[in-house]
Symmetry: C2
Subunit: 478 residues, 2 copies
């Protein structure tokens, strides 16, 4: 069929050109469309529904730990952005400036938030007076704008959706605990819902967030061997508190600065889902996060009873599964291709012969395995299949990552690995930014993180040969 | 107690100064805080949680009717905004313009969306080709910016949160049906969840949305007798489709323009909740929408068993109610004031003597009625009380509105009513904008809507005395 060919042919194979494959998938799976403003994207229903599911799960997990949601303004006055020195240096070059309101020029220009530390600090300095006002554990779901030069759907766009948590605590210990707690929530969420294993660790000073004392990160490995920073959590110490004068009176009635954190996860994570699980037929969504988990595809739907049975199955299943019937007037083959392109975890094929035999055929999206199941067993089997699929997707992703994680003990070996074996490289580092700079310059790999789980893969820095301070994951990254 | 006095004294009484009472409530109930940008507000946890509940209910109701959520960019190129003539004239004077990205001036300035018709139209013109692509029933939850000169929390702010639905249909009839369907969803939601009765009707041409063929509205009456437009639904006909060239091939393979609608409800509705239900002790939230429905206030909580019992009650109740325990070290009186200020529908007072008697005291926020309930009956009674309260709040609001809805049959009577009796005035209108203009100029009242439920209160226009075309609700409005 001409149409079916068109849908499949539309995708470049990932072996041929991974970047083009990625772009094809996001377009053909109808996750996004490009907008009239360069570098901005439209999140279409298939794409936005993934984000809605991510929001739902994460928001509930946040709230279990005492997080409260707020909404801060979109615009930041220039003078406010400039209050913390490192922060403004990091962000000023990449913000969008509003200089005119209505028909009048503004007396002070306003930037569209690239992140909201300065707004939260300003707010906290107004509402925090006493130790009784602490902790403040606030979060917001919103979009931010960063004036990027080159953009790619989900991975780097001028505007993106995220959540940003901002907290204020009485003690440094509490702030550090919250920073790590949120990183763990991100990592667990990615593993359990998105089937993406994460390396958890700390960023080097060179790679940390503008204004942070410490940045923690979760790093994932994509199918092409490139790394993706997938979520970050920052401990600001009392740096912002001093710049914004956020003080409280403690129980002894003494003035103290608060200790702050912030942590964020963005729509970029949808890029990770695509690049970890996708294949040459399109997207593959982990069942736990898939907006539609089951697509019922009637075969010969014009024949009596077929569509009725399809609707009946949907009705039975929809209390436990997110299920749809594709009753459009397209051919079954076209519907299969579409279900595969969109990454719907399983389809149920249902034709007149199946109905006669009191059964249906379940087809897994990831393995293409076909499982014939009697109607009586359908619910139980479906649950089993989706759980197995979720588990195996994580296992495959972990196996792939581990198979593409290398060790290098000297610079020649390091360069050779980076050049010829896409993946993570574990190597020791002396702690000197000069070595980081040299590695980046000569290999275009960056330090992804100093993992919490340290291993001593050598005694000396992979770059300069001096005594090593820590083991670092290195890699080329998105 | 000094503290308690402070909290109560902080509110101006509504009889003394309604506007100040309103401002006091939004601040003291900690719904909002002011931000560093003029006219922008911070939605604090108490305020944002109300919006979250509104979102949850409305979003589910939208989806039941086939709505899918998307996310469109924040920025609109000037050329795109200008595509539909009436639309740009309506919005251009009140948008914020981005003229600089990073360190570079932009070649074309971009406005921050004041509403997203132009973006949706541009998108629809790309993705709609055939009748099979219709209808498109998309919605987004986001913030928009309008450069307002004078602002008030919730009611009129430079930036506000809302949802905006945008649909495209094959026929004019379908578009009209969708326009009315969404207005009804808004009206039902406001009545059933917010306990606010609405007048449903159509805006006059003077008051309709820039670019719409017809605008429908729901209008509520505040406690001070002023009207509040609370949600609108627009039928665009094929006007935007022609400006943006959104065409599809019908079943006969002929090119046709689509018919479009849009509809929105904003955080302004929180202002309505405050001004319809609030009293001189603060906010009063309808139980159906209150983030916290029940506050358990332990009395003499230092005494053995009191706090334990409070937590036990919370545990029993929390599967059916949104319940919290106020275990802070404030006095019970202070806690009562706070619960009242924040509008939490009921509190449960629980002291050692109550525990001994196997009972607790439920106090309704709206009527202050105290109901002694044995622990065994607590769940059943609480459910009953909250339902009664919800029902009576709607009844009171309706009674208040009806008591402040007047009829005027000639201009003298009209002017006298507007000046001396705050409320709605029902009066006939000839359909001429000159009369609307004159009424506005001489009384500062505007036409709120031509209600769906028409009554012939006179034969002639209240302003010019010519034959009347329809009955209109008039009033001073926020």
């Amino acid at each position: 069929m001409a149409n079916e060919k068109k849908l499949v042919e539309a995708i470049t194979s990932m072996e041929e050109d991974f970047a083009q494959w990625y772009t094809d998938v996001v377009k053909k799976a109808e996750l996004i469309d490009y907008a009239s403003v360069r570098g901005c994207m439209i999140l279409r229903p298939n794409g936005y529904a993934i984000w809605e599911n991510i929001q739902k799960v994460l928001d509930a997990k946040f709230k279990e730990t005492g997080v409260e949601n707020v909404y801060m303004p979109l615009l930041i006055p220039e003078s406010l952005l400039q209050r913390e020195k490192d922060h403004v240096e990091g962000f000023a070059p990449e913000v969008a400036w509003v200089t005119q309101g209505g028909l009048e020029p503004l007396t002070e220009k306003l930037c569209i938030r690239p992140t909201s530390e300065t707004l939260f600090c300003d707010f906290y300095s107004n509402i925090i007076q006493s130790h009784r006002d602490l902790p403040k554990v606030y979060n917001q779901w919103c979009s931010v704008v960063r004036w990027e030069k080159t953009t790619r759907p989900f991975l780097r766009t001028m505007e993106f959706l995220w959540q940003e948590g901002h907290t204020a605590h009485a003690t440094a210990i509490e702030a550090e605990e919250r920073t790590v707690q949120m990183l763990n929530i991100y990592a667990d969420f990615c593993e359990n819902y998105l089937a993406i294993p994460m390396v958890k660790g700390r960023k080097t000073d060179k790679e940390k967030f503008a204004g942070a004392h410490a940045t923690y990160t979760i790093e994932a490995l994509m199918h092409d061997g490139k790394a993706l920073q997938s979520g970050t959590s920052h401990n600001f110490g009392d740096g912002f508190a001093k710049a914004f004068n956020i003080q409280y009176t403690d129980k002894e009635n003494k003035l103290q600065y608060v200790h702050q954190t912030s942590w964020g996860l963005t729509t970029r994570i949808i890029g990770a889902i695509i690049m970890v699980h996708g294949d040459n037929s399109g997207l593959v969504l982990p069942p736990m996060i898939a907006p539609t988990q089951v697509m019922v595809v009637p075969i010969a739907q014009h024949k009596e009873g077929v569509l009725d049975k399809a609707y009946e199955l949907k009705k039975t299943l929809e209390s436990n599964f997110r299920v749809k019937v594709d009753d459009s007037d397209k051919s079954p083959g076209w519907k299969f291709s579409e279900q595969e392109m969109r990454g719907i975890p399983v389809r149920i094929e249902l034709g007149p012969k199946d109905i006669e035999a009191n059964q249906a055929v379940i087809v897994r999206r990831d393995t293409r395995e076909k499982i014939i199941v009697s109607f009586d067993e359908l619910e139980v089997k479906l649950d089993e299949i989706l759980k197995t699929m979720q588990k195996e997707m994580l296992e495959r992703a972990r196996t792939h990552r581990d198979a593409h994680t290398y060790v290098a003990t000297n610079f020649e070996e390091f360069k050779d690995t980076i050049q010829n074996k896409p993946g993570f490289v574990k190597a020791m580092w002396c702690g000197d930014v000069a070595c980081e700079d040299k590695i980046k310059e000569e290999t275009s790999a960056t330090s992804r993180c100093m993992p919490f789980e340290q291993e001593e893969v050598a005694k000396t820095c992979v770059c300069c040969g001096k005594p090593a301070k820590s083991m670092v994951y290195w890699g080329k990254a998105y």
